[in-house]
């Protein structure tokens, strides 16, 4: 843990993240460009036709949205147990990104659903649990902005994030129990042809890199903003 905290010191973090950021940004552009090129040069599916291409921007958004909630939960645990202020900042910075990825997953999913299922929205298990995930993100962000005192807001948001993290598998299970129409998972089970698998994996890497890049920028902005506020308060 000591090792982690050395890099979590704000000054150290600014230096390290400043050095990593250009590479992360360049890798993001590269992965997304290669992924999109590979994706669009993939042959149309015999059943779904060209709409299969939506998968390349839909599935990575969904994976990213879930991973980001996981990242927030880990940051929240660090914040509650070790009281480290940077983990609060990191958790807060990740939330709007997660919400946007969730929304992106929902929108692309419904655009795919129109030609495939015949409607923009079906009350299918995975769509519904994603809609609930979006509300969890919105509630989390609302709690953050509702409490003025930042330390207190951070701890309250951390408790909420952990309660949500415990609840998400239960919500997922209950919604699955309720209704399932969405196709099952096909990456790990090897049902996906390599011609689709590789672009998909590249796009997933691209989305995660995009998240990491934006996350670092947001954390850095938050640190600099706090510094500026402190300086202004001192000057006043």
């Amino acid at each position: 843990m000591q090792f982690l905290f050395r890099y979590a010191n704000p000054a150290m973090f600014m230096r390290l993240s400043g050095a990593v950021l250009p590479y992360a940004a360049a890798l993001t552009v590269l992965a997304l460009a290669v992924g999109l090129f590979m994706g669009f040069s993939a042959p149309p599916d015999y059943q779904q036709g060209l709409t299969v291409l939506i998968m390349f921007i839909h599935v990575p958004a969904a994976t990213a949205a879930m991973s980001i909630y996981g990242a927030i939960a880990v940051c929240s645990l660090l914040s509650l147990v070790w009281r480290h202020p940077l983990s609060d900042t990191a958790a807060r910075a990740a939330a709007p990104l997660g919400a946007v990825f969730t929304a992106l997953g929902l929108v692309t999913g419904s655009l795919w659903g129109k030609p495939m299922w015949g409607t923009y929205w079906v009350w299918d298990a995975r769509l519904t649990s994603f809609l609930l995930l979006l509300f969890l993100y919105l509630g989390y962000m609302a709690l953050w902005s509702a409490i003025e005192d930042e330390t207190r807001a951070g701890r309250a948001a951390a408790v909420l994030a952990l309660v949500g993290a415990v609840n998400i598998p239960i919500i997922k299970f209950s919604v699955d129990w309720w209704n399932t129409l969405h196709q099952g998972e096909s990456i790990m089970s090897g049902k996906l042809d390599p011609v689709y698998l590789w672009p998909l994996l590249t796009m997933m890497a691209g989305y995660m890199l995009l998240f990491v890049t934006l996350w670092l920028i947001r954390i850095r902005t938050a640190i600099v903003t706090r510094r500026a506020t402190t300086l202004m308060q001192r000057a006043a």
Binding site: L80, L132, F135, L136, L138, G139, Y140, A142, L143, A146, I147, D149, T151, R152, R155, A156, V159, L160, L162, V163, G164, V166, N167, I170, I171, F173, S174, V175, W177, W178
Partner: protein, 222 residues
């Protein structure tokens, strides 16, 4: 233990006496049940079909109505700090408040539900299932709601964001509760849904006091 019971009894009295909000929740529940047929039409077959879901959603919303007061009143007049200093662990205090909220809201709503179910033409076989599901599920609403109430206790507009943070967490209760009624209507055994609902409720009641106590603590310190 006696401190626990004293606190429990005090909160039940506060909730049921004038200005407490327990009766308001019941009126709200009845009103929601009245507005739904006005909105979707008086077709009795349709109403019987949606009764389980509507009454479950109505009960959850009605229980939410009085949730923001769970810790707020004690926080505002300072007694929450004294309660927190008392030898009774804050986890048990939270549990007492959860039980008190259930006794003053969840239980009356459950008792009232068969009457509303009759208005919705729910088949007589499904009514006991509805009552049983509410009896088993509403403790989860009080328990998870207590976490939200504790998190937002220091906020002026806490009542506004409480539903936003609590309702997504309550979706399993609605799914299993209304699912049990639907299973009963379709002639299947509701035991599976009720079992899952019971498990969810039990876990919520057991774990929520810890999260609620942690939330109260962070709002009292600093």
């Amino acid at each position: 233990m006696s401190a626990f019971l004293v606190l429990l009894w005090r909160d039940v009295k506060l909730a049921t006496r004038s200005g407490g909000g327990a009766a308001l929740a019941l009126c709200f529940f009845a009103l929601v049940a009245t507005l739904v047929p006005l909105g979707i039409g008086a077709d009795l077959k349709l109403l019987a079909r949606v009764a389980g879901g509507i009454l479950w959603v109505g009960a959850v919303l009605a229980a939410l109505l009085s949730l923001d007061r769970l810790f707020q009143g004690d926080y505002d007049d300072g007694s929450l700090e004294l309660i927190a200093l008392a030898p009774l662990p804050l986890e048990l205090t939270s549990l007492a408040k959860i039980v008190a909220h259930w006794l003053s809201t969840g239980l009356p709503l459950t008792i009232m539900s068969p009457l509303l179910a009759l208005l919705f033409n729910l088949s007589p076989d499904a009514i006991p299932v509805l009552v049983l599901s509410l009896l088993m599920g509403t403790p989860a609403v009080s328990a998870i709601g207590a976490i939200g109430a504790a998190l937002t206790v220091s906020l002026r507009g806490g009542g506004l964001i409480l539903p936003l943070i609590i309702l997504p967490l309550l979706s399993p209760a609605v799914i299993f509760g209304a699912g049990a009624v639907a299973a009963g209507l379709d002639g299947f055994s509701p035991a599976g849904a009720l079992g899952l609902l019971g498990a969810f409720s039990l876990a919520a009641v057991l774990l929520s006091p810890f999260a609620a106590a942690a939330s109260v603590r962070l709002n009292l310190s600093g």
